[in-house]
């Protein structure tokens, strides 16, 4: 594989990660959100794999495998299980409506581009120049986190932030140490498991998983 093709692949996968983040704002169907999240995880793993092939770094290759397993398969499957128990559940009334949140996403993307310039100018290279894409993913993830009401969409927002941080790390430093990535993946996995337990008990007690309804105390 030539260096040009590798760079093209890195650009393509980084673009897919950000596009997936925006699509989560676009779709209301929770099943679609989980599918998009799985695609994002696979794209992130592909990016790590391409970088590992390029640098010949075995540790990074293992990280790519961990990312594929955790973010592409296990976490989306756990989330899909939560969604399946609540069929037909949709993000019907987000705090900010869909057109406004898409325009806000466009603004966040521009903010990310303008603010990442200093970061990338520390070590300019064809790969580090892509870092604004990761930063934009983080910002869009935070936006999902604060504007969506369903437990599943909020956890999707958290995972978007996590994927964005991982993307920035891959692009800027050509990979995080294996131990750090293992720890982070395990952390996120735990959060998803906790969410699954929380969502299950919420549905058992209240009959819904709308976090916005939990602001008042009841007997």
């Amino acid at each position: 594989m030539s260096a040009g093709t590798e760079l093209d692949l890195v650009e393509l996968t980084a673009g897919v990660v950000l596009a997936c983040a925006v699509v989560t704002l676009w779709r209301r169907d929770l099943r679609a959100l989980v599918a998009v999240l799985a695609l994002q995880g696979v794209a992130l793993a592909a990016l790590a794999a391409v970088l590992a092939l390029h640098t010949g770094d075995v540790g990074l290759g293992v990280v790519a495998g961990v990312v594929l397993l955790a973010k592409g398969l296990v976490i989306p499957n756990l989330l899909a299980r939560v969604v399946r128990r609540d069929p037909g559940s949709r993000e019907t009334t987000p705090l900010v409506n869909v057109p406004a949140s898409l325009v806000a996403a466009a603004g966040l993307v521009i903010v990310a581009y303008l603010s990442a310039g200093r970061l990338t100018s520390l070590f300019p290279s064809p790969v580090t120049r892509l870092a604004p894409l990761g930063l934009a993913t983080v910002l869009v993830g935070f936006f999902v986190l604060v504007t969506r009401r369903k437990a599943v969409s909020q956890i999707v927002g958290l995972l978007l932030v996590d994927n964005g941080v991982a993307l920035v790390a891959f692009l800027l430093t050509a990979g995080v140490p294996l131990l750090v990535e293992l720890g982070a993946s395990f952390d996120v996995l735990l959060v998803v498991v906790v969410l699954q337990v929380l969502a299950t008990s919420m549905r058992a007690r209240f009959g819904h998983v709308d976090l916005d309804q939990l602001r008042e105390l009841h007997d």
Binding site: W26, V98, P132
Partner: protein
């Protein structure tokens, strides 16, 4: 040749070895091809839809036959309407014809190629839309006004998305001149797989669906009052005037399909005005436009029409994809 040099050559007319005469002939060929091809594309899409739904459907040439029938009819004018109603179809067809003549459809450098800026072409299209909307308002009927207001709402949302996605291409090509973008893409075939182009392509396809009034934004075959957009607007046109409106809309559809095909995949476009090149250009343009028609007809068959209030979601999604395309273009430049 650098992109800036290509643009300069287009503006001065030295980009192609051919003289002014052949280029004028090529432009006339483009207008003729789109005037015949546009209605055929409409017929092709109706045919594909019919086949996918298990019907046989009307022949592909049906829109052309409809045009012939409409032109032979008597001219009838709404009683209280002013000259605006009569002028609207003429402005629509004229603006579409000018846009077609200067755009890189069959040949990279038609006449006035230096002036074929993205903004010029988009606003020529807008001029036709505004004329049609005024024509809808002019007779003072309820449906015409409703159709015009809806069409303008959708147009105002589609416009920025279209311009920003062409901007993504022009950042890469370093020119907003459409023939310049096509020439630069021909010189760098590797660009066609870039992520910003894929994002911009998705955005442009959504905009084209909205601008040409196809499902899920508008249903071209509906006559149910509350769901009509385009049909409500042209309700007061009859006979030859309606024929002109139909022709103008079909030409806009042909132009948009041709521009999408050539801006994103410029294979086969004629680079000079010699006869074999032009013949190949027309053939390839027809094939590419038919491929786009197939994709959009399949989208139409497989989706339900959106509620009018959900259309802004679709179009703002296209706008964000276009912004993403621009940003990806800026970071990877």
């Amino acid at each position: 040749m650098s992109p800036a040099a290509i643009t300069a050559a287009l503006v001065t007319g030295t980009a192609t070895p051919t003289g002014l005469g052949p280029r004028i002939a090529a432009s006339i060929l483009q207008v003729a091809a789109v005037a015949v091809g546009g209605p055929l594309l409409v017929g092709l899409m109706a045919k594909i839809r019919a086949r996918a739904e298990g019907r046989i459907g009307a022949p592909i040439s049906q829109p052309l036959r409809d045009l012939r029938k409409l032109v032979r009819k008597e001219r009838i004018h709404a009683e209280h309407a002013s000259a605006v109603l009569t002028l609207a179809p003429l402005v629509l067809v004229a603006s579409a014809a000018v846009a077609v003549a200067i755009s890189p459809l069959v040949i990279t450098a038609p006449v006035l190629a230096g002036g074929a800026d993205a903004f010029v072409v988009v606003y020529l299209l807008l001029m036709g839309s505004v004329a049609l909307a005024l024509g809808g308002l002019d007779p003072g009927t309820a449906f015409g006004g409703m159709g015009s207001s809806r069409a303008m709402t959708i147009g105002a949302l589609a416009e920025p998305a279209l311009l920003v996605s062409i901007l993504a291409l022009s950042i890469q090509a370093e020119t907003s001149n459409l023939p310049g973008i096509v020439t630069a893409t021909l010189a760098h075939p590797g660009w066609m797989a870039n992520p910003e182009r894929l994002l911009a392509l998705v955005a442009v396809v959504v905009v084209v669906i909205a601008e040409t009034g196809r499902i899920p934004v508008d249903n071209p075959s509906t006559h149910l009052e509350l769901t009509m957009i385009h049909e409500a607007m042209v309700l007061e046109h009859a006979g030859p005037d309606l024929g002109l409106v139909t022709l103008g809309e079909a030409m806009r559809l042909g132009l948009l399909f041709g521009l999408v095909a050539n801006l994103f995949f410029p294979w086969g476009i004629a680079t000079n005005a010699s006869l074999p090149h032009l013949a190949l250009g027309v053939g390839v343009l027809g094939a590419k436009a038919a491929a786009i028609a197939l994709v959009i007809a399949l989208i139409e068959v497989s989706t339900a029409k959106l509620r009018l209030f959900r259309v802004p979601e679709l179009l703002s999604g296209a706008f964000v994809l276009a912004v993403l395309a621009v940003m990806t273009g800026l970071v990877t430049r």
